[in-house]
Structures are given as structure tokens and as C-alpha cells.
């Protein structure tokens, strides 16, 4: 077990969205564009990382019977902080993400990692885990946001920079709610297919 493999595990094998099925609400709700997806994932990653550090360094002092309320309070504190920071420095993004910024507090990905990992492992590994899971989440949200933005508007604009432009007839379907369900259904089926293929080859 080394730090790098812990980090990679969070990105691939334990990917929060496709493998653990955690944090699905923000995954679908805020991915109308790549920029929103990345903003949301970065905010979640900050909270996840800070919560992992605090919880794993206090793990010997937290009484096991009331650990869940304590986890929630730690998480809620960091969510309040990132909410205020975003409101002050990136007001447009804060408005676009709306109610989903405070809702990071009930993102089961974060409390799930606190319970399953940070409360049992040393701080350095918890940092690697938080960074890995956070990066996995970031990649998925950026991918879903990118796909929806590309097919929904015909181009991907990231922080004022046009990345890709496609001469296709854009369909608003993809940036409407059904498009979110459709995108994740297709991606998840592809991931499952790939995983089954890899298993077949391995065994």
C-alpha cells in the first residue's frame, strides 16, 4: 500500500460515481456545462480533502457512538466555508450551482469516505484517498458536462475559452434534465461493458 496506488484506486477502481454510485445528485444536476461540472467537483474535492484530514487526525478522540453527527458537523463547516468563498470570488458559478453548493453536505461520497476510510487510516493516506476520489469525481463531472455541453450547444466553452466547436445541429435535449439521465445511462453501460471485458480477459 503506497500513497500513489491509494490515489489511483480512487480514480479508477473505486471511482465514486461509476463504481461506488455515490454523489449522483450533483453529478446529474450541475453538469449542464463542463465549467459547472468542474466547479462543482472542485468544491466537493476541497470539502472531501479537508474533512478527511480533520477526521483522520481526530480519529482517536471521536467517540464511536456519536461519530456520524460529528462527521456531519465537520463536513457542514467546510461546506459553509467553501460556499462563502465561492459567493465572494466566483459569484456567477455560485449562482449557476445554486442549491447544490450547500447540498455538498449530504453528498454521500464525502461522509462515505469519512466513515469507510478516513476514520480508520493515517492522515497521509487519507489525503491520498481524498485527492484520488476527488479527482475521479472531477473527471466524471467534466466528462458528463463536456458531453452534454457539446451535443447541447455545439461547443465547449471553458472559462471563456472555446475548446471545441462542432458543426452539428445542437439539441437542447442534452442540456435538459432527460439528457443528464441519458448521458449517465450510456456512460455507465459502457463502463460496465468494459469492466466485464477486462474480467473475462483476466480470469
Amino acid at each position: 500500500m503506497n500513497l500513489w496506488s491509494e490515489f489511483l484506486r480512487g480514480v479508477t477502481k473505486d471511482n465514486p460515481v461509476f463504481a461506488l454510485l455515490l454523489g449522483l445528485c450533483p453529478t446529474l444536476a450541475v453538469t449542464t456545462s463542463m465549467e459547472n461540472g468542474i466547479g462543482m467537483a472542485a468544491a466537493s474535492m476541497f470539502v472531501l480533502l479537508c474533512a478527511n484530514i480533520i477526521i483522520s487526525s481526530l480519529k482517536h478522540h471521536i467517540p464511536p457512538t456519536i461519530r456520524v453527527p460529528i462527521f456531519i458537523l465537520v463536513i457542514a463547516t467546510f461546506v459553509s466555508i467553501i460556499g462563502m468563498v465561492m459567493e465572494a470570488f466566483t459569484p456567477a458559478l455560485h449562482t449557476a450551482l445554486g442549491v447544490f453548493v450547500p447540498l455538498i453536505v449530504v453528498n454521500c461520497m464525502i461522509i462515505g469516505r469519512a466513515e469507510a476510510y478516513a476514520s480508520k487510516n493515517p492522515v497521509s493516506f487519507s489525503v491520498a484517498d481524498g485527492l484520488g476520489i476527488g479527482t475521479g469525481f472531477l473527471l466524471v463531472l467534466a466528462a458528463i458536462g463536456g458531453i452534454r455541453e457539446l451535443f447541447g450547444t455545439g461547443e465547449i466553452v471553458l472559462f471563456g475559452l472555446t475548446l471545441i466547436q462542432m458543426p452539428i445541429e445542437a439539441s437542447t435535449f442534452m442540456i435538459m434534465p432527460p439528457g443528464a439521465f441519458f448521458t449517465i445511462a450510456v456512460l455507465m453501460a459502457l463502463v460496465n461493458y468494459r469492466r466485464a471485458k477486462l474480467l473475462e480477459r483476466g480470469g
Binding site: 454510485l21 449522483l24 445528485c25 450533483p26 446529474l28 444536476a29 453527527p69 456531519i72 458537523l73 457542514a76 463547516t77 461546506v79 459553509s80 460556499g83 462563502m84 445554486g98 442549491v99 450547500p102 447540498l103 453536505v105 449530504v106 453528498n107 454521500c108 461522509i111 435535449f173 435538459m176 434534465p177 432527460p178 443528464a180 439521465f181 441519458f182 449517465i184 445511462a185 450510456v186 455507465m188 453501460a189 459502457l190 460496465n192 461493458y193 466485464a196
Partner: protein, 195 residues
């Protein structure tokens, strides 16, 4: 019809701003407990119940505690604590006084504490500046909208167990494909109802 009549708020909560299919709140129970209709009904009943009470209680907490004492920045922490303890309290009361209801809701009640639909509801109530009554109506409506979708979905998934589908689509991807169709109906995609 005035902009914020109670009836408009109700319709908004049930259909136009449906919590699961339009706002993507509460996807965990949507995927977790829709494998059979019985549990979907139990979960929906528990959610309607908790949402209604949570609307009332958080309104009181916000207007008598947070706003007068200028503690707006504690809003999130206060709400999450209130909801968690509320769910506990409701569980005790139901277990003591309504044992049959407790038996049918039992396992779903504690799950609601970590349900983003309930916290989302009280935050939306605050954002839209709803009054006490408006908040309760929106809470009931959101709960009913949640319930309708849960029951529809569970019916679809019960049927799907009889269908032969590729193994990589089985389970969650299938549920998301079904949700795509349901969501298209809810956003009035084909403009069946002219607006």
C-alpha cells in the same frame, strides 16, 4: 392566477419542479428502494411526512432563531442538525403511538436523515422566501411528486425483471434509461400539453 398562489406552488412542487426528475434531488432512494413497489410506497410515505414537518420546523428555526440573532451563516449547520434530530424524534413518536405505521416505514425513516431531497427542500424554501403556509404546501407537494416518481419507477423496474436485456445495461443503467423517458414526460418534451 397570482404568481404565488398556493395552487401554483403545489403544481410546481409536484410536476414542474419535480424533485427527482427535474431537480435531481433524492437520487439515492430513487435507485436504492425502487426495486419493488412495496418499499417505494413506504419510502414515499415517510418522505412526504418528514418533508411536511421539516418545512414547518425549519421555518420556525430560521425566523425565530437565525434571523433575529443574525446567525444566517450558521443556516446550513442548523438545518442539518434540525433535520437529523427531527427524523429521530419522528421515529420515536411513531414507534410509540402508531406501531403499524412504524412497522411499514421502519427501516426507511433513518435513511431520510441523509436524503438530499429533504435538505434541498428546506434550502429551496429559504431561497424562494416562502411564508410558513407556502413552505408547508411546497413541502407536501414535493413529497407527493417524489412519491409519484418512486412508484412509477418501481412499477417499471418490477416489469423489467422479466425482460431480456444485455448484462452491462442491467440494473442501474437500465434505471437511468427508464428515468430518461419519465423525465421527458415531466419536462413536456414533446409538448403534449401546449404551454
Amino acid at each position: 392566477m397570482p404568481e404565488n398562489s398556493l395552487f401554483t406552488i403545489f403544481l410546481n412542487g409536484v410536476f414542474i419542479e419535480n424533485f427527482i426528475l427535474i431537480q435531481f434531488l433524492g437520487l439515492c432512494p430513487f435507485l436504492g428502494v425502487t426495486k419493488e413497489t412495496r418499499s417505494a410506497v413506504g419510502m414515499s410515505a415517510a418522505v412526504i411526512f418528514v418533508m411536511t414537518i421539516a418545512s414547518a420546523v425549519t421555518f420556525a428555526v430560521a425566523s425565530f432563531l437565525l434571523i433575529p440573532f443574525n446567525l444566517g451563516f450558521l443556516e446550513l449547520i442548523a438545518f442539518i442538525v434540525v433535520i437529523a434530530s427531527l427524523v429521530q424524534l419522528v421515529e420515536y413518536i411513531i414507534r410509540k403511538h402508531l406501531p403499524p405505521l412504524y412497522k411499514s416505514l421502519g427501516i426507511y425513516l433513518p435513511l431520510i436523515a441523509s436524503n438530499c431531497a429533504v435538505l434541498g427542500l428546506v434550502l429551496l424554501n429559504r431561497i424562494q422566501d416562502f411564508t410558513f403556509v407556502e413552505g408547508i404546501v411546497f413541502g407536501v407537494a414535493a413529497g407527493i411528486g417524489f412519491g409519484i416518481v418512486m412508484i412509477l419507477m418501481s412499477a417499471v423496474r418490477e416489469r423489467s425483471s422479466l425482460v431480456n436485456i444485455p448484462s452491462s445495461v442491467k440494473g442501474v443503467p437500465y434505471a437511468f434509461f427508464a428515468a430518461t423517458m419519465l423525465s421527458m414526460a415531466f419536462v413536456n418534451y414533446f409538448e403534449v400539453i401546449p404551454l
